[in-house]
Symmetry: D3
Subunit: 255 residues, 6 copies
Amino acid sequence: MRNDQRDYNELRPVNITPDYIKHPEGSVLIEFGDTKVICNASIEDRVPPFMRGQGKGWITAEYAMLPRATEQRNIRESSKGKVSGRTMEIQRLIGRALRSVVDLNQIGERTVWVDCDVIQADGGTRTASITGAFVAVVLAFNKLLHKKMIKKMPVTDFMAAISVGISPDGTELLDLNYQEDSVATVDMNVVMTGAGEFIEIQGTGEEATFSGNQLQTMLGLAGEGMQELNSIQKTVLGDMTNRIGETRKTEEDSP
Amino acid sequence: MRNDQRDYNELRPVNITPDYIKHPEGSVLIEFGDTKVICNASIEDRVPPFMRGQGKGWITAEYAMLPRATEQRNIRESSKGKVSGRTMEIQRLIGRALRSVVDLNQIGERTVWVDCDVIQADGGTRTASITGAFVAVVLAFNKLLHKKMIKKMPVTDFMAAISVGISPDGTELLDLNYQEDSVATVDMNVVMTGAGEFIEIQGTGEEATFSGNQLQTMLGLAGEGMQELNSIQKTVLGDMTNRIGETRKTEEDSP
Amino acid sequence: MRNDQRDYNELRPVNITPDYIKHPEGSVLIEFGDTKVICNASIEDRVPPFMRGQGKGWITAEYAMLPRATEQRNIRESSKGKVSGRTMEIQRLIGRALRSVVDLNQIGERTVWVDCDVIQADGGTRTASITGAFVAVVLAFNKLLHKKMIKKMPVTDFMAAISVGISPDGTELLDLNYQEDSVATVDMNVVMTGAGEFIEIQGTGEEATFSGNQLQTMLGLAGEGMQELNSIQKTVLGDMTNRIGETRKTEEDSP
Amino acid sequence: MRNDQRDYNELRPVNITPDYIKHPEGSVLIEFGDTKVICNASIEDRVPPFMRGQGKGWITAEYAMLPRATEQRNIRESSKGKVSGRTMEIQRLIGRALRSVVDLNQIGERTVWVDCDVIQADGGTRTASITGAFVAVVLAFNKLLHKKMIKKMPVTDFMAAISVGISPDGTELLDLNYQEDSVATVDMNVVMTGAGEFIEIQGTGEEATFSGNQLQTMLGLAGEGMQELNSIQKTVLGDMTNRIGETRKTEEDSP
Amino acid sequence: MRNDQRDYNELRPVNITPDYIKHPEGSVLIEFGDTKVICNASIEDRVPPFMRGQGKGWITAEYAMLPRATEQRNIRESSKGKVSGRTMEIQRLIGRALRSVVDLNQIGERTVWVDCDVIQADGGTRTASITGAFVAVVLAFNKLLHKKMIKKMPVTDFMAAISVGISPDGTELLDLNYQEDSVATVDMNVVMTGAGEFIEIQGTGEEATFSGNQLQTMLGLAGEGMQELNSIQKTVLGDMTNRIGETRKTEEDSP
Amino acid sequence: MRNDQRDYNELRPVNITPDYIKHPEGSVLIEFGDTKVICNASIEDRVPPFMRGQGKGWITAEYAMLPRATEQRNIRESSKGKVSGRTMEIQRLIGRALRSVVDLNQIGERTVWVDCDVIQADGGTRTASITGAFVAVVLAFNKLLHKKMIKKMPVTDFMAAISVGISPDGTELLDLNYQEDSVATVDMNVVMTGAGEFIEIQGTGEEATFSGNQLQTMLGLAGEGMQELNSIQKTVLGDMTNRIGETRKTEEDSP
């Protein structure tokens, strides 16, 4: 039994509130248990210099935590004057994950800025960010569709992320909360498509190593969690669900 | 009639949700109409170097906006690597305002960090921040009182802030929203105590100047708004209200 | 009696030396007692990006102190690699004050850079800077007039700044020197036009609050000081005095 | 057949030159084909603040490229004034990998700084860095052993890293060179112990996703490559090989 | 004949105003023609970390220009957030020059901060800075002598600096003004002691090279100029002159 | 006899390995005894903004050390976020030296970036960098000649640099190693042309001064060393040697 009464293969309660902030083209508040992240998607009518003139778009992400999202207050990165390595890793991961299910050719020379701001943290902030960001981006594209600025929903498949890990007693766990994460011997984040393909696997054992069998067990748990997350995303997106996949990812789509 | 149907001397709906984030010692979400700010107060058990060894505490504030709190997305200050002049002005103002109603001698060598993070902006973010920060700080001190870490509520009086200004047609207005603020010829922020004394007045006319009479009218409006804000703060603070003022501000209190 | 024998409503000796540095279009050394500031106005033939294509100009200010302008040596801001919040507040204030009395439509797509460098500090550096900067800017515009680069003196009225405050014994004082400023319970800076209208009021009580009556007394003192400063500015500007106000500030003038 | 005549499961020629630079405690030049990295390990007699007083050590890594290690010259990170997200990711990865096979309790309050400087790049710079850094660290510990500053070789097992990926035609490949890497649809870096356990898996598909079967094939290739790398490391380390593993990684070892 | 009517071996008018700013322990305004530099020497009662515990002092220098000291306005280094290479070169040069004639053992664990701020530039700002800084430092030490904080004047000899160069027509010139400097083919700065020994020679030909004979001619001119500068320094220092050299530079004096 | 058995006027063994790194247009490894520097010359097809539209080129240099090039590990400048004054001085010196023997008119609007990266340091890193950079630049221009992108070898003469100094016992020494350099009372770097003219002289005595006679002796030693260096450069350059000087430096060549 886990510290919050969950079974080893059980997600925390997941809640997604759409249209949470009024200004962004797409906005959600996503909650994985006590982890709460505001995901805002903004559309900008130009692309970064390295993409110009190719007739296609770009998606980039930024991630931050409020200083007191955590048990101990963190120094604000704007005060430190630089972004930490951890933050950079996470924002690069969010961006890659989103780009992998969007046909950038369909969106014209536009940039989608995705801001994931953690207002309360209890483990899994990066997986909640990715899962929520997916919904925010679909909402933003839906707005472009209604304004007839794009012709098709450019999203090729559902996408979500979840953490798995190994507890000190050797049990593989799904969706670690902060207390579990801080004692886990192995920590893995998995990003998958609705079709069950992998987009990203990042597994790390700093104190311990893991075998091929343990890897398989963890990937199995991740697969189960992913199906639940996709189903929650579908409920929130309602009618938009049917438009996901109307574009197929093509090979020329890569930057 | 104003663009949101208010009378010239009418506040927007003000809402304060206490205990909004779970980790901080004091936390509120404050809403002035569509302006929404998370105010978190954190207690740190030491003071900055310039205050050490004096047996008294310090209060400091930080202020930020989510990139898409505004109509147009702003570049994140952590990405720019520096904090703007506007942000610095606001956080210095919030800190001064709070210190003016707290007897720093009562709190020991502790720092209160107040983080005001605007998640949605529609004008008046600095006045909402100050008004909400006051409540967050009282909540945090209340926690210290319960843990018997301090003996008396160190807050000497109520305190809140409100904006006033002059519209292009010459009308003095209370609590400007973003649209009003962007066309106002004079913009003034007033911070006052529950007793009706001034803590800070910052009035600016970039496009226009203002007369002594206009100044008086604006200060009158501010005084009215302040009473309403104090009354809302009291409702939220409930029993804690009676402890405000049990400490009197003394002259030796200044840093 | 004050520590330098002045009466409560008496300015320190004010001295303005025009054409102090040879390169700038406008340059003065201004002295408020022992406070000495070099104010240089430079004309650049372009405006910042956010102003381009509007056919009007911009005025911006920078403020700094020599490291040993003060009793204790300050670390140079270029060595620290960042500008302090105090410096930013002051330079934003100087810029706003100047823009409020200049018709930016008259100066074409030019930027006036005003550099206020304090070489010796004894309180009131920001008010001396504003008062001297006004003269430097008029000198610079006069040079443009002589070169027929502009047609009218674009300055709509005289403008100066002065500090007022309240001493620990409760006396309202005009033009505080450093020793007075460091013990004052209330500190206020007032920027006014030659016509006696307010441009900016910034009053702060960190250790104390102030009543409406005290505010009125301070504003009265400021008004008296302002007249003396205007009269000194007129003496320095000589013939140029008559051209001030030949342009009237129009509403479209704002950025 | 690959662009450099290798089979799909074939490493490039790997060469490790020990004692390459004279000052560091441990130093190697490692070559994976045309990729050349200088790996220097330096011992410092103190640990970072967050580790002090625990009686154990720390290992940290830094990674950089000479500006012209690549086909196009890169701007030097010292000139840009900040380290890129990619660099941070790599140096964090190198540090974690090394710490996973070192018993930090054995080395006392010392920090091992590992500097991986790429002097020529042709793909696989992070895997070459990790593989070379392992050898440099063993050399450095060997020096401490000779000076009797530590009692046992604190390294618990061999460790190396290799890249695998999927080519545009769907073939899984071992040890991608730059040309292969730039067109690969999936890119994965695998860090493993001599015993065949995983330390880190980072697999990414930006343009494509990958199935569970493809993952297994790639992990199989990585396992083969790892054995070859371990064997090359053993040849270079000679007698030191026998001391690897004389310390067993214990659970209390984690930071 | 030179553009300002001087002979090839003639200094510009040199003027040194002692006690120019009131706060610093030593302060002068030095003028080399139209080049004007405020040199302030501040005494701090501690040394930088690398000097602690040795019972001796340190001298360091900072150099800056007001933005409009020059014909074209320069961006303030505090705004750029970094100090230019040119500035760093100059401040390192000033510091070395001063340290070469001060017996650091005589001043205890104190730091002398020398600030050279160019308020108007017309060539030779670094040589004027060094020459003026020497006087400011002697004034500061004199104050320490009077307060009996040191026993002997720790200055071992006079010291000054002057520029020499070669004009486009091949003439060697002493003390180049800005116009001469900007067309000179060779530019050399020479720092010498009162006894005629060299402290520093920095000669550069970017567009041209120079022969051994030309070098000798330039060094001869520098020697002549140096004597005049020493004589002006002596006049300003008056009675203090006799105390220069009462300490002899010893070998253990170096850091 | 010196600590490495050399005579006072003897260079350390000098070795230059051409084409050391494969990507740059010109690349050498240069060794002055145990000092080893990789010098890479890169050609970029544009010039910096201040040079545009003049139809001529630019040469700029960057210099860095690997953190453990030295006995004690240095903090990486990219981690510190800024380049030290020493580094800036050296890279400005390398750039000036190279520009003094290249006719920038011959190379079109191109920039030559020269990167000098010290992989092992034992004194004389700046002189080794200049001497090696000269060869790397000639190799790069030779590549442009072969591609017919330029018509003539734009290098007007040979160029090299060497250090001289005075040991604590008063002996003038050629080519100081680190141990000698750290105790020398005078340190001088000399850059000369193949024709024996001076390009740059930088002589510094921090602990001591030096006389005109000592200066002559040091310059004599430098001249001898320079001839040997030129002869080694010629051997490495082979046939390219004859093309050096086919362009004569013209006066209009300067930036």
